[in-house]
């Protein structure tokens, strides 16, 4: 009996000891098994390229989704919906505005993703990847960061320059930086990109050194008037614009497309005129272009659940811009009663516009069958232009005009007339500022640009820009209505020319109430 007992006890003790020490040392090591981590990524050139691939679309989605048109065209006075975004047409937005906050968040998300990729590629990528390939991908990220800051600087002015997002967990109370430093930061990023990007890229739509030069030209043109006290632009910067824009126009791979409406067909994404565009694919929410979801007249047009644009129309002011001879661009921009669009609802012989309103046409591409399936609900495959060759030509003309009242400079006039000729309207022999401004507004209407032209003007001639806004008729354009709606004019105060910081940001960071500080560029 004793013996049996002893054996039993020994077994049991052995069992206890076994279980207590049964957990091997790595029992608690549980790394992710369904996702790559920043420590297991960045191994080769393909992975680096895949890291910046979403920076051509996904990261911009929420800015493109509402900010782009609310700021560029509602504030710009081209488009009106009395039910929503009307606060931008009427200048009644406040710091509580949702679109302002999501636009702000989206732009900073671009900055954040770019920062993290840049740091990780420098610190964590495989040493076997050639340096020039790393620098190329870093340049793509820095180009995107520059573009995001360009929007931030024009919309808000003084904003914080964020370079290390991971460090923010320890202290996210950062000061505002001066707008001029933000511009300098953008120029640095673009110069880096020009030096390190190739002249061409096998993948269409990827940025090259030409893309960076073209954007730098636009940045310099905008910045040239910043903080001007004499109502003039900085000549040295204007020279830079002429230098970079001229280089791209003369030596770059771009040209105008022949037929203006063709620019906006999904199948013509990344055409010869496209310098930079956000690259959308029709897939899930967030992968594609959501523009037509908000602006197409009905779901018959989009062939999807969306098409909420029944009450969105051009403003009377925009309609005044298009003369009787300027109907090619007009018809590609907004619809008039009885306009026929064979490319939309093509299986039913095309869409014939009915109803009273001048509804939106540009970027409205129709349903899946009109686009080889490249349309889903809130997710269409057509690109969003950020910079196309026609705009670069006008930038070039504007820079040559510079601070003069008018110019007959051959290159300026020629560049300008190329845009006019393509639109099928008469050419000019001499140019002044207002002519170029109006041409940009017509050419680029509903492409999210007009407000930024006004801001760029306001930088060096604030009162003139405010006076211009006061002359914009922002009433609804309803050419088919029995009763014409009233004209609407608004005179915003100077303070409305820059967006308010979202209130939730000010609540979380009291330094937003303090004056901006100079940015420390290091060397």
């Amino acid at each position: 009996m004793m013996k049996l007992h002893t054996i039993k006890n020994k077994t049991i003790f052995a069992f206890i000891i076994l279980t207590i020490f049964s957990c091997s040392k790595d029992f608690l090591d549980r790394e992710p098994i369904d996702a790559l981590t920043i420590d297991t990524y960045y191994n080769n050139y393909d992975e680096l390229r895949a890291a910046v691939a979403p920076m051509y679309s996904t990261v911009w989605f929420e800015y493109n989704d509402k900010g782009s048109f609310s700021f560029g065209d509602c504030l710009g006075g081209n488009m009106i919906n009395p039910w929503s975004y009307e606060e931008f047409v009427y200048f009644t937005y406040t710091s509580l505005n949702n679109t302002i906050a999501t636009g702000w968040a989206s732009l900073y998300r671009v900055v954040g993703h770019a920062n993290i990729h840049i740091v990780n590629i420098m610190e964590k990528s495989s040493p076997s990847i050639p340096e020039e390939q790393k620098l190329q991908v870093i340049s793509e990220a820095r180009f995107m960061r520059a573009l995001a800051y360009f929007y931030l600087a024009r919309l808000w002015g003084d904003v914080p320059i964020i370079t290390d997002n991971i460090a923010l967990k320890d202290d996210y109370i950062v000061p505002l930086n001066r707008a001029e430093d933000v511009y300098q930061y953008i120029i640095n990023d673009l110069n880096f990109a020009i030096s390190n990007l190739p002249d061409s890229d096998p993948e269409p739509g990827r940025v090259t050194s030409w893309t960076a030069k073209a954007l730098l030209a636009k940045v310099y043109l905008t910045f040239s008037g910043f903080n001007s006290t004499e109502g003039t632009r900085d000549e040295a910067m204007l020279d830079s614009v002429i230098y970079y824009a001229g280089d791209v126009i003369q030596n770059g791979p771009y040209d105008l497309m022949e037929n203006y409406p063709d620019l906006f067909l999904t199948k013509n994404d990344n055409n010869i005129e496209s310098i930079f565009a956000w690259q959308w694919i029709a897939n899930n929410y967030g992968d594609g272009n959501s523009f037509q979801a908000y602006f197409a007249v009905s779901s018959d047009v989009t062939g999807c659940e969306d098409g909420w644009g029944g009450s969105v129309t051009a403003t009377k002011g925009l309609a005044e811009m298009f003369t009787a001879s300027d109907q090619i661009r007009r018809k590609a921009t907004y619809m008039m009663p009885n306009d026929t669009f064979p490319e939309i609802m093509s299986s039913e012989g095309g869409y014939v516009h009915t109803g009273e309103g001048a509804n939106i046409k540009k970027y409205v591409v129709g349903g899946p069958e009109d686009n080889d399936g490249q349309v889903h609900t809130m997710s269409a495959g057509n690109n969003t232009y950020i910079l196309r060759f026609a705009e670069l030509l006008l930038i070039y003309s504007e820079a040559i005009l510079g601070n003069r009242a008018s110019t007959t400079d051959a290159e300026a006039v020629e560049a300008f007339n190329r845009v006019r000729q393509r639109a099928g309207v008469s050419t000019r022999t001499s140019l002044n500022f207002m002519q170029i401004f109006d041409e940009k507004r017509r050419e680029l209407a509903l492409e999210g640009n007009t407000w930024f032209e006004i801001v760029s003007w306001w930088y060096f001639q604030p009162q003139e820009a405010l006076d211009y806004i006061a002359t914009q008729n922002r009433g609804r354009y309803l050419p088919g209505a029995d009763e014409e709606p009233s004209d609407d004019y608004f005179s915003p105060p100077n303070s409305k020319m820059q967006m308010p910081y979202p209130e939730s940001e000010v609540l979380q960071n009291p330094l937003f109430n303090e004056p901006p500080v100079p940015y420390d560029f290091g060397e």
């Binding site: 207590i20 895949a50 691939a53 009395p82 047409v89 939730s504």
Partner: protein, 1063 residues
Amino acid sequence: MRKWIKKRGFTGNRPLYYERKISTPLIVFLLNFTVLTTFLSVVASAQEGELTITGIVTTDHDRNPAPGANIIVKGTTIGTITDLDGKFSLEVEQGVVIQISFIGYLSQEIVVGDETNFNINLKEDVTQLDEVVKVGYGTMKRSDLTGAVVSVSSEDIKSSASTSLDQALQGRAAGVLVTQNSGQPGGGVTVQIRGINTLNENNEPLYVIDGIPISGYTGDNTNALAIINPNDISSMEVLKDASATAIYGSRAANGVVLITTNRGQQGETQISYDGSFGIQQLPKYVNVLDLQEYATFLNEREEIIGFGSKPEFADPSVLGEGTNWQEEMFQVAPQQSHNLALTGGNEKTTFALSGSYLDQDGIAIGSYFKRYGVRLNIDNNTRKWLKLGVNLSVSRTDERITINEYDLLSEAIHQSPDIPVKNPDGSWAGPDDVFGVSNPVARALDTENARKRTQLLSNLYADIYFLKDFTLRSEFGTNISYLNKYRFEPSYEYGKVKNPETESSRIAENNFDWILKNYLTYNKSLFERHHLEVMLGHEAQAGIWESVEARRQGFLTNTIHEVNAGDILSSNAYSQKSDWALESYFGRLNYSYDDRYLLTATFRADGSSRFSPENRWGFFPSFALAWKISNEKFLQDVSQISNLKLRLGYGEVGGQNIPSYAYGSTMGNWATQYGSGFLIANLPNPDVQWESQKSYNVGLDLAMFQNRVEFITDAYLKKTDNLLLVLPMPLYTATDLDWSVAYIEPPAVNVGSLENKGIEFTLNTINMAGEFFWKSGITISVNRNKITKLVTSGSYIDQSIDVQTITRTAVGQPVGQFYGYITDGLYANADELYSGTHTAGAEVGTEAGVSVWVGDIRYLNLDGNDSIDAGDRTYMGNPNPKFSFGFNNTFEYKNFDLTIYINGTYGNKIFNELKRTNEDPMSRSGMLSSVKDYARIGLIDPDGDPDDIYNQYVTNPGTTVPRIVTSDPNVNNRISDRYVEDGSYIRIKSFVLGYTFPRKWTNAVKIERVRIYVNIQNLYTFTKYTGYDPEIGAQRQNVLKSGVDQGRYPSPRVYQFGVNLNF
């Protein structure tokens, strides 16, 4: 098994009634007086002689037999005990008094007269001091507890007639605040034990079901415990203070609820059936505009803004009431439940087997919850030194959650009354405007969003008794679950709202958690007065979760929802997988001296895979002392006090509720033009470490008057440090708490400290103990919490709705207060307008359509600067109650029983988001009827300039609804105190009336017991809140944003009829 009563002293010739009467309260005295008079009259008619009496002793109103109850002839040692069926037989002289006693129950005395067969029904005493209760990794006698532990009995659970057991906790345990987040069948619940203990989303206690830990956290509006059948529960123990919970270490920061299921008993197999049928209805509608009112309103609005009405509204008086969307969305819904249980066994083996079925339709159409379950518990005395057993439960739930997932109840309020539900041809109708609200009735019925979950819980144990005084317990448990999610978005055409794109998604998730534990207990009494118990153990647990999803679009019809029927070219597939592990060492020492002084000390060390190797281990000690004052000499002669105990405790517990791999950073995969693209998915924090909580508790237990009055009070102070939080940060950090495209999850950070202090009272009394039996129980819980430190630079954390801040959690303040603007009526005329300060950047009085104007809301300028801006926001109310309470009354008379249960909260505030969205006078669809009170602008001089602001005034200046304006420059519907309402309520939670048929009737049909009952749940709610239901809780269990009503599914009123049968 045998339980003997404590011998009481011989009372001589003193009249028997006298002994019990001493010092009892008046009510008991009166009661006994009636007993006495009855007794005297019986004695007077009694005759001398020997006879054999027989009888059966049962307990409570469910009349289960009481095996081993003592039957003693009063004043003698003559007696017997009842057998396994509660029966006894005894020879006595006529006229004697017999005393029936049973531990845990009030004794009864009966005079033997002519009657020789007795049915004796014993009533539970209120203290249950001798009851054995579960503590972590062991059991204890209730009287030996040193920590704050409260039990909820199976009787309480059954009488609440809840479909989920956490609901049964509501108001029944002091210190436990239960809030239903949704009245949807199977819907979510938040349970807070002693306040908000952590800032991260998981504030739910740890549930340990027969040894298997299950988190109450789901992160959505479903319920983790809905899978458990409440009828299977024999008891729930809520461990409240750290001296009780520290043995669970890292998972115990929010308290622990131990759940024990029914086990078998020796004897003839008992069969019981419980079944009920009920109907449920919506207690109250929200007032919305009917068609005439809507048309009138739109016409008035069009006069002001120039657009937006309809030609058919020209003469509202010819219109009918239109569609009442709430009536269309809600229905009278049936529910039924059936439970069959078998228990029995012999000396070697006992078992409990049960099967259950619950079928509950929702009061909102297209929602339902079904549960099927089987449970088997077996215990086997294998050898003298070995006991083996198993608990097995398999259950399946089937629920449809379309209503909650698509927010259809708020859509039903938002839809306009001019839209019919169906067209004359029977097809679904819809708005004549693409921008309109879709058809919520059609959506509820046609859009599939369902879940089926199968869960297997098993726990295998062995108790090995080797060496004297040593027991080794080994347990292996698993929690295996399979969850299928079904979604189908049909193509539809509801008027102008169309969706030509169908989409189906099928998700299969499976989860496998296992736990292996071994612990050794040494139990020894030394030198009579010293008692020692030591426990040491080790535990390892791990889990793996996987999911697979398939998705397709392009279905040709809406009839077949399976993915195979969709367009093969649109196929999408996803899979995910994650795992975790936890390893622990723990131990406990219990020492008692002379049954007067008790000491408990525990420690636990936990290693968690959630932290980086450097920060992996956490250590959690606790100490508690108790002094049984009633066992001191100076109190032994005070017969009124049967128990008086003082408890002191201190303990530390931890928290690890952060996402897996928060110390590192993963890459998310996004679809792009260039193939897969990879972006960082979260910001890493390699320094993140354990949350730790220190808590102090002092408690007093008092039982008086032969345990007819029990009073328990506890006061506590808890300090939590290194609070874990996935930190909401400003948007410029590129992080976002809510899913947005390309979002980066913020880092998990040790963000600060908070403290909770509170006091709890429980008073249980038996007010009448005779033929008319009345017992009552009151619980009151008071808790205050305060943030003491935050490492965020601004020392506060904000939460928002539509990127507007709605709550703020700040140092020195309670968690999650509403934060916004304070309103002061509206500008009634130009003088008032110009005398105030105005929204920053807004123009004032320049033009009615685009500037701040007469009829706009006046916001208080709190920071005294020259405009209304961010600095003018302030605290607008606390969503946490000042106190909560439960009040339970049970009455029994003859065969009738009645339970009335009331609960409520006081002092909590609700943010009525439903009102904010539906009282907006510029809404494009339906609105609350209060919108009719919009500020109307009149002309002071009717012949004067109609556009001159000095000629305008508000004709109804008392209103709270602002004027009508298209582009509202004053942001009248910003987050302000206009939408903050008092959320206090008192609810008659349940009203149960039961009748037990006399045994002699039921025995004839071989049924031991039949009880029928009627139960009305949520009979009435007293509240000032204007929404559906004041019980809001925390959306998706996020405590930083609780009390925000975004269209919560209201809790139904239920009329239930049921039957309990024992064979």
